[in-house]
């Protein structure tokens, strides 16, 4: 390297060097922000560590386990009828729906089939818990975006659904009502008429949401084009339920899978949306509540007579075998892989919960978004902490 002796040249180089130093000094560093574990946007105790550049998310890493209860271990020491009271608490907003796939799996291994009346009432309660669950989502989405009013409407109308569930099962949150071979009880007298009244309320609520939230320009500006999930990416992450239907995948286990439930005897429609953004997820869920109302109405009219319990032994021993049954739960596909060795207790139960997979896409999805979008995306993915942590 030749020496520079021209003073002007030297001054220029020195200036460059000092500029470079200045640039080095003002180079910024990302800020790490802990969203959670106690944060209004994570409804529960999910923690998301985001690395921010200004308000832009450079990296997001969800950390869970704050509510891990070890159900997969605990069910190994509980008899089959006792398991339902535990798994009720996985998705606590639509708890009856949690019991169904497990009971169906056990029934499949045992070769038992519930009588038609039990199947209809099961489907009925299944859809009612969907309404109870998703109605809250519709209100909550507003809260996450700063509109406080919708959630009160949601709680108000959800209460009536819970009342109906309570009237049948005796439990508002944790019915523990599904049994191997049928149901614990029949529906009470006069319940059908009351439930139809409740459906009217829910339909009105959906219309209100359409007026109040869906058509709102700010809501649309906050959700349209935000958090777009292409169908193939969503599938490879195992997204299910409304999250994947909002990406245009026409797949609903109520129509396409389904043993043990009577959705195939009803007249209803699977809603999809081509966009795959937060708005699409919200919109699909709104339509699904309406569709669930239609289904419940048909179910109420069509409950066949007969017993609600098949002949099963008093003490249930499930013969050796394995079964995987998944159903289309309010949050998405929920499945139980049940391994039995002929004991009173299951040998191994793998709980495949919907939110776990739904939320596992967040590191991919949140990168490059803004902090406010994190909230809208998380809200639209709609997770329940118990469903992630189990």
């Amino acid at each position: 390297m030749t020496a520079v002796d021209d003073p002007r040249q030297l001054a220029y180089i020195a200036g460059q060097a000092s500029d470079a130093r200045v640039n080095l000094e003002i180079e910024t560093e990302g800020m790490t922000l802990n969203i959670g574990p106690q944060h209004p946007a994570t409804h529960g105790t999910l923690r998301i560590v985001v690395k921010l550049d200004g308000e832009r998310v450079m990296r997001a890493e969800p950390i869970m386990g704050y509510m891990h209860r070890g159900y997969e271990k605990l069910v190994e020491v509980r008899t089959y009828p006792q398991v339902t009271s535990l798994i009720n608490r996985i998705d606590w907003l639509g708890s009856f729906a949690n019991e169904v796939p497990f009971i169906l799996a056990a029934e499949q291994i045992m070769g038992v089939e519930a009588p038609p009346r039990a199947q209809w009432i099961r489907t009925l309660l299944f859809e009612l818990s969907r309404i109870a669950n998703v109605v809250l989502f519709l209100g909550d989405m507003g809260v996450q975006l700063g509109a406080v009013t919708p959630v009160f409407f949601a709680f108000r109308d959800r209460e009536f659904v819970l009342n109906q569930i309570e009237a049948v099962t005796g439990g508002r949150f944790h019915p523990n009502f599904d049994r191997i071979g049928g149901l614990k009880d029949d529906i009470p007298k006069g319940w059908t008429e009351e439930t139809k009244g409740v459906l009217g309320r829910i339909r009105k609520f959906c219309d209100e949401m359409e007026d109040l939230v869906t058509g709102n320009e700010i809501f649309q500006a906050r959700t349209r084009g935000i958090g777009v999930i292409p169908a193939d990416v969503g599938l490879s992450y195992g997204l299910s339920g409304a999250n994947i239907r909002a990406s245009g995948v026409d797949w609903d286990l109520r129509r396409d899978g389904g043993i043990g439930l009577v959705h195939d005897q009803l007249d209803w429609k699977v809603w999809t949306h081509p966009d795959g953004d937060s708005f699409a997820r919200y919109w699909v869920r709104l339509q699904e509540v309406r569709e669930a109302c239609n289904m419940v109405e048909q179910l109420l009219d069509g409950i066949p007579p007969g017993p609600v319990m098949a002949k099963v032994p008093r003490i249930i021993k499930v013969p050796p075998g394995e079964a995987y049954v998944e159903t289309e739960n309010p949050l998405g596909v929920m499945g139980y892989y049940v391994v039995s060795k002929g004991d009173l207790v299951p040998y191994r139960v793998k709980i495949r919960s919907a939110s776990f997979n739904n939320i596992s896409i967040t590191p991919w999805l949140l990168e490059g978004t803004y902090v406010p979008d994190v909230v809208s995306i998380l809200a639209s993915l709609y997770f329940i902490l118990g469903d992630i942590d189990r």
Partner: protein, 346 residues
């Protein structure tokens, strides 16, 4: 209001000042309390199909006192790493701007705190002091949420100061004065196409200005749909996150008092202030009913402000800036041009 008092009894300067201070406190706290009870407690509850507070006093009307008592009892927690002096001072800085604002608003032909020629200019200038308080709060809290909230607030308040100002310029052009009392008088004595039955409230001619002013006020107050600085679902409560007890109460009062005072400003600039049609604007009667009239108009305007607050979701920060720079500011500039041209033509 000093003029009124000096007419009745001769008071020493310090006595006048004392009375002014007390009246100023009343002028800030009374609308604030009314707004909190009427809108935050009751209207919001009815909109959300619930009753709101019902226990303290008839229909929960004393709930506010209970709330104040609760906040006073709470421990004043200061984060360990906080910048203590700045942290403690911040709520007062926010309140200062609120108290300075109330000075320029007249409540009657002779009932005013100060009567300066550049009244509206002063008002808009001191309204930005609160930004400093918010920045102080956010910085001193040593919390990331607070810092983000404060920075958002700063960006937002600076951006919306401009449409707020420009919206007022139309009024000033039309009234031909910066003096707030003069603006009220211009509305009271004005005529609509030669008919002076209701005066000429500027909301009729400056409706665009009124709309922009209200939107900008909404942003200045950091209320939904512009409440990103306190966005509770993102930033917990932004710059308020670390505050508790009395200091939180001060912020709270500041928020609602400022809402009341901006509503009063809007009422004065666009709705004729203390004036009601049918009575001679120079009549002494207005010194008595003027405050009540103004309060009525304040409630009317705040109804709009709070209605938006309870109904709308929240913008995103960049969308908010776009709204300010791409929509509101061009619109208000156009408004000024049109107003100026019409002023010259007529």
């Amino acid at each position: 209001m000093s003029d009124l008092l000096t007419l009745a009894v001769e008071l020493a300067w310090w006595q006048q000042t004392g009375i002014r201070a007390v009246l100023g406190l009343v002028a800030v706290l009374l609308p604030a309390g009314t707004l909190v009870y009427l809108f935050l407690f009751k209207m919001m509850s009815f909109m959300q199909s619930r009753l709101g507070p019902m226990e303290a006093g008839p229909h929960g009307s004393l709930q506010l006192l209970a709330e104040v008592g609760k906040f006073l009892q709470k421990e004043d927690i200061i984060p360990e790493k906080a910048d203590r002096i700045v942290f403690k001072a911040a709520p007062f800085v926010v309140l200062i701007s609120t108290f300075l604002l109330v000075l320029v608003i007249p409540a009657g032909p002779d009932a005013w705190f100060i009567d300066v020629d550049t009244g509206i200019f002063l008002a808009l200038a001191v309204s930005s002091i609160s930004v400093i308080g918010i920045l102080m709060a956010g910085w001193a809290s040593s919390s990331k949420y607070s810092l983000l909230g404060a920075l958002r607030a700063a960006g937002q308040l600076v951006a919306y100061e401009l449409p707020l100002l420009l919206a007022v310029v139309g009024v000033v052009i039309q009234a031909g004065t910066l003096n707030v009392q003069g603006i009220v008088m211009a509305q009271a004595t004005g005529e609509i196409f030669g008919w002076g039955g209701i005066g000429n409230p500027f909301i009729l001619t400056q409706f665009l200005g009124f709309a922009i002013f209200l939107i900008a006020v909404q942003a200045e107050l950091t209320q939904p749909p512009f409440d990103m600085p306190v966005a509770e679902s993102e930033l917990v409560t932004g710059y308020l996150t670390e505050y508790s007890g009395l200091r939180f109460l001060l912020f709270f009062i500041g928020e609602f008092a400022t809402a009341g005072i901006f509503a009063a400003l809007a009422a004065t600039l666009f709705l004729g202030g203390w004036y009601v049609p049918g009575i001679d604007p120079t009549s002494d009667l207005f010194n008595v009913i003027g405050p009540a009239v103004l309060l009525g108009k304040v409630i009317l305007v705040s109804f709009l402000i709070f209605w938006f607050r309870f109904t709308y979701p929240r913008f995103r920060e960049d969308q908010l800036q776009q709204l300010a720079w791409k929509v509101l500011i061009p619109l208000s500039l156009a408004n000024i041009v049109v107003t100026g041209v019409l002023k010259v033509v007529f």
